[in-house]
C-alpha cells in the first residue's frame, strides 16, 4: 500500500513515516502543498494523509486536486484546526475520514484499516478471533453462533485491540479511543481495567481468553498468530 503523508511539520512527518513503514506501508512524505501536488500527479497512492493547514496551499484545494488525479485514493484529513467546518467541508469534498491533531498513531492505523476494509471490499463481514466471530459492521461478537452481549465501550476496546493486534495498547491509548471526545477522557482512572475485566469475564464464559494479554503495568495486547 502506498501512502503519502502531506505534513509541513517535519518531526511529525518523520514519526508518521516511521510508524507507517513499520506497519508495512510504503510511505512517502511531502512537506509543502506544491510538493504534494506534484507527487499526487505522478504516483498512484492508496492513501493520502492530508494536513489541511499548509503554509503554501489551501488544504481543501489540494484535496480537490487529489480527488481529480486519483479517484481511488483514500483520504484522511489531519488538522489542528478544531473547527467542525473544516471537517464537514473535507468530508463533502470526498475525504474518507478525519482526525484532529493531536491524534494517536494507533487511532490512525485503525482508521486506515477500516477504510481498507470498506474500500477494498473485504466482503467477509466477520473476523475470527480465536473462535470468536467479530462483526465490525453490526458491532457484535458471537461464539459458535451464540451472541455475546457487550457494552458499547467493551466492543470498542475489543475492536481497537483487534485493529492493533499483536501490539501493546496502553491505558492512555485505550482511554482516548473509547472517549472519542478527549474532553471526557479521565486519564487517572482505572476504567479501562474495569472494562477489560468485564470483557474477559463475558468472553471467558465461552472459551479461554489468554490471548487477551495484560502486558506488565503498561497495557493490553491481543495476540494473534
Amino acid at each position: 500500500m502506498n501512502v503519502l503523508v502531506v505534513e509541513d511539520e517535519k518531526s511529525l512527518a518523520t514519526e508518521m513515516h516511521t510508524f507507517l513503514k513499520n506497519e508495512g506501508y510504503i510511505c512517502d512524505v511531502a512537506s509543502t502543498g506544491k510538493e504534494a501536488s506534484e507527487k499526487i500527479f505522478i504516483n498512484p497512492y492508496d492513501f493520502l494523509l492530508l494536513d489541511l493547514g499548509l503554509p503554501d496551499y489551501d488544504g481543501l484545494d489540494l484535496l480537490k486536486e487529489a480527488k481529480e488525479a486519483n479517484q481511488e485514493a483514500a483520504i484522511i484529513i489531519l488538522t489542528a484546526r478544531g473547527s467542525t467546518d473544516d471537517k464537514v467541508k473535507g468530508l463533502d469534498l470526498g475525504a474518507d475520514d478525519y482526525l484532529a491533531k493531536p491524534f494517536s498513531l494507533m487511532e490512525l492505523s485503525s482508521r486506515m484499516q477500516a477504510i481498507i476494509r470498506r474500500k477494498h471490499g473485504l466482503k467477509k463481514a466477520t473476523t475470527d478471533v480465536h473462535g470468536f466471530e467479530i462483526d465490525m459492521n453490526n458491532r457484535t461478537v458471537s461464539f459458535q453462533g451464540k451472541m455475546i452481549s457487550l457494552t458499547k465501550k467493551e466492543f470498542d476496546i475489543f475492536q481497537y485491540l483487534l485493529m492493533n493486534k499483536n501490539r501493546v495498547l496502553t491505558r492512555v491509548q485505550l482511554t482516548e479511543h473509547i472517549w472519542d471526545n478527549a474532553l471526557e477522557a479521565d486519564y487517572d482512572s482505572n476504567y479501562v481495567d474495569v472494562h477489560i475485566k468485564n470483557l474477559r469475564k463475558k468472553l471467558g464464559q465461552c472459551a479461554e481468553v489468554d490471548w487477551l494479554e495484560t502486558v506488565r503495568g503498561i497495557g493490553y495486547r491481543m495476540n494473534m498468530s
Binding site: E9, G82, S83, P102, L105, V168, V172, A182, Y187, S189
Partner: protein, 431 residues
C-alpha cells in the same frame, strides 16, 4: 404667571377699594354740592327722637349696599376712609365708609357715606376660585410641557441608554453615532463608543491569543504523542523506560485535554461553534447517564434520573450540551463520597426550564463558590486532579445557550448545580 395669579385676588381687592373710594369721594362732592344748594334742611331733622339724643341725624339709604348719613357732632376731625362693619337693617355688613367733617351754620357735621363691601368680597372669592382653577390648569400644563420638552431634549441620552442596555458584549454594541446637536451628548456617545471599542479590542486580542496559543501547542503535542507511541512500539526498551513513557503519555493526555478545553471555550466565545441542533434535554440527560454508567459503578454511586417529559431546546449544539451535563455529572461523581448519590431533576417553570444536578459529595466552601467558574481556579481539596476548566467550560456552554448556571453547596453535605434555560428568548449570549 403663576405668581400673578396668586396675587391677583389681592390686586383685585385693592383695585376695588380704590374704585369704591373714588366713588365715595364723588358722592361726597355731590352731597356737599346738594347741601350748599339746598341747605341742610333737606337732610337733617332736629333731634327729637330718643335714639339719637340731642344730635341732629339724617339717614339716607338707597340700597342696602349704599348709605349716607349726616349727623351733628361736636368735634372736628380729619376725613377718613375706613373699612368697618356696619349695622344695616340689623345685619352686620362689611362696608367702606367715608367720614367727612364739615362746618355748616357754625355747627360741625359728620357725613358718612358708605358702600357695602359684600360684592367685593364675593368678587374676590370668585376671582380666587377662578385663579385657583387656572393655576391648577397652568401647573398641569407646565409640568406636561416640561416633561415633554425634557423627554424631547433627553432623547439622545435615551438612545445612548438603549444602546448600552442592548449591549451584552462589546462586539454587539451599535457603533452608529446617536444623532443629536447637543455637544455633551455627542461627546458622551463618542466616549462610550470609544470605550466599547477598546474593550472589544482587548477582548478579541485575548481570545485570539488563547486560540492561537492553543492551536500552536497542538502541533508540538502531536509530535510528542507520535514519538512516544513509536518508542513504545519498538518493544526494545527496558520495562522502566516503558513505564516512564506511559507516564509521559498520561501527562501529555492531560495537556491535550487542557488545550482542547481552551480551544473549545475560545471557539464558543468567538462564535465559531455551530448552533443548529434540536436537543431533547431529558433524552440528552439519559444519554449522559448511560455514557457515564461505568464511572458511577466504579465508585458505587447511585444516580437518580427524574427528567420528566420531553423538552426540546433549539437552536442548540448537542455535543456542547452533552459536554456541559457530562462535566456536571462527572464532577458530581468525582467529588462524591463512595456509596454516595446523585440526582438529576428537570422542571419547567413559567419562563424557564431548569435542570438540577444534586450530589452528596464533599461540597464547596462558600469562599470558593464564586471562583469555581473561573478558568484555572483550583478548588479541589481531595488530592484528585482538577484542571480547573470543567466548570468554566460548563459556564461558557450554558451562556452560549442563553442559560444561567447556579450553584448552592454545603461543605460535607453536597452541592446542587442548576442550569436554567430561558424560554422564548432570542440569541443573546453573555460570556
Amino acid at each position: 404667571m403663576a405668581g400673578f395669579l396668586v396675587f391677583l385676588p389681592g390686586l383685585i381687592y385693592d383695585a376695588s377699594i380704590t374704585h369704591i373710594d373714588t366713588r365715595l369721594e364723588k358722592k361726597k362732592t355731590n352731597m356737599l354740592h346738594l347741601i350748599r344748594n339746598k341747605g341742610m334742611g333737606e337732610f337733617i331733622e332736629e333731634a327729637t327722637d330718643s335714639t339719637h339724643g340731642d344730635s341732629a341725624y339724617s339717614d339716607y339709604t338707597i340700597f342696602r349696599e349704599n348709605f349716607v348719613s349726616i349727623e351733628l357732632v361736636k368735634d372736628f376731625e380729619e376725613d377718613t376712609i375706613v373699612t368697618s362693619p356696619r349695622d344695616i337693617d340689623s345685619e352686620i355688613v362689611e362696608s367702606r365708609v367715608l367720614r367727612h367733617f364739615f362746618h355748616y351754620n357754625n355747627s360741625i357735621y359728620l357725613m358718612e357715606i358708605g358702600e357695602s363691601m359684600q360684592y367685593v368680597k364675593d368678587l374676590n372669592l370668585v376671582v380666587r376660585q377662578i385663579s385657583l382653577y387656572i393655576l391648577i390648569v397652568i401647573i398641569t400644563l407646565t409640568v406636561l410641557l416640561d416633561l415633554g420638552a425634557i423627554q424631547y431634549l433627553l432623547r439622545p441620552l435615551r438612545k445612548i441608554e438603549a444602546k448600552l442596555l442592548a449591549t451584552q458584549r462589546p462586539e454587539k454594541f451599535d457603533y452608529h453615532p446617536v444623532i443629536t446637536t447637543t455637544t455633551d451628548f455627542q461627546y458622551l456617545d463618542k466616549t462610550i463608543g470609544e470605550m466599547m471599542q477598546k474593550i472589544q479590542n482587548a477582548f478579541s486580542i485575548e481570545k485570539e491569543f488563547i486560540a492561537n496559543v492553543s492551536h500552536e501547542l497542538l502541533t508540538p503535542v502531536s509530535i510528542l504523542q507520535t514519538r512516544l507511541e513509536n518508542m513504545l512500539a519498538t518493544g526494545t526498551l527496558s520495562e522502566e523506560a516503558e513505564m516512564k513513557i506511559l507516564e509521559s503519555q498520561n501527562t501529555l493526555g492531560r495537556l491535550k485535554q487542557i488545550i482542547r478545553s481552551l480551544l473549545l471555550i475560545s471557539q464558543i466565545e468567538n462564535n465559531q461553534a455551530p448552533k443548529e441542533d434540536k436537543v431533547d434535554i431529558p433524552q440528552l440527560l439519559k444519554d449522559v447517564a448511560s455514557e457515564i454508567e461505568e464511572r458511577l459503578a466504579g465508585k458505587h454511586i447511585s444516580l437518580e434520573l427524574n427528567v420528566g417529559d420531553s423538552f426540546v431546546l433549539e437552536p442548540a449544539n448537542r455535543s456542547l450540551l452533552f459536554t456541559l451535563f457530562f462535566n456536571l455529572v462527572n464532577n458530581a461523581i468525582k467529588y462524591n463520597k463512595p456509596g454516595g448519590k446523585i440526582s438529576i431533576h428537570c422542571r419547567k417553570e413559567k419562563d424557564r426550564y431548569i435542570v438540577e444536578v444534586k450530589d452528596t459529595g464533599i461540597g464547596i466552601a462558600p469562599e470558593n463558590l464564586t471562583s469555581i467558574f473561573y478558568r484555572f481556579k483550583k478548588i479541589n481539596t481531595t488530592g484528585e486532579e482538577s484542571y480547573g476548566l470543567g466548570l468554566p467550560m460548563v459556564k461558557t456552554i450554558a451562556g452560549f445557550h442563553n442559560a444561567e448556571i447556579k450553584v448552592e453547596s454545603t461543605v460535607g453535605e453536597g452541592s446542587i448545580f442548576t442550569v436554567e434555560f430561558k424560554l422564548n428568548t432570542h440569541e443573546t449570549y453573555n460570556p
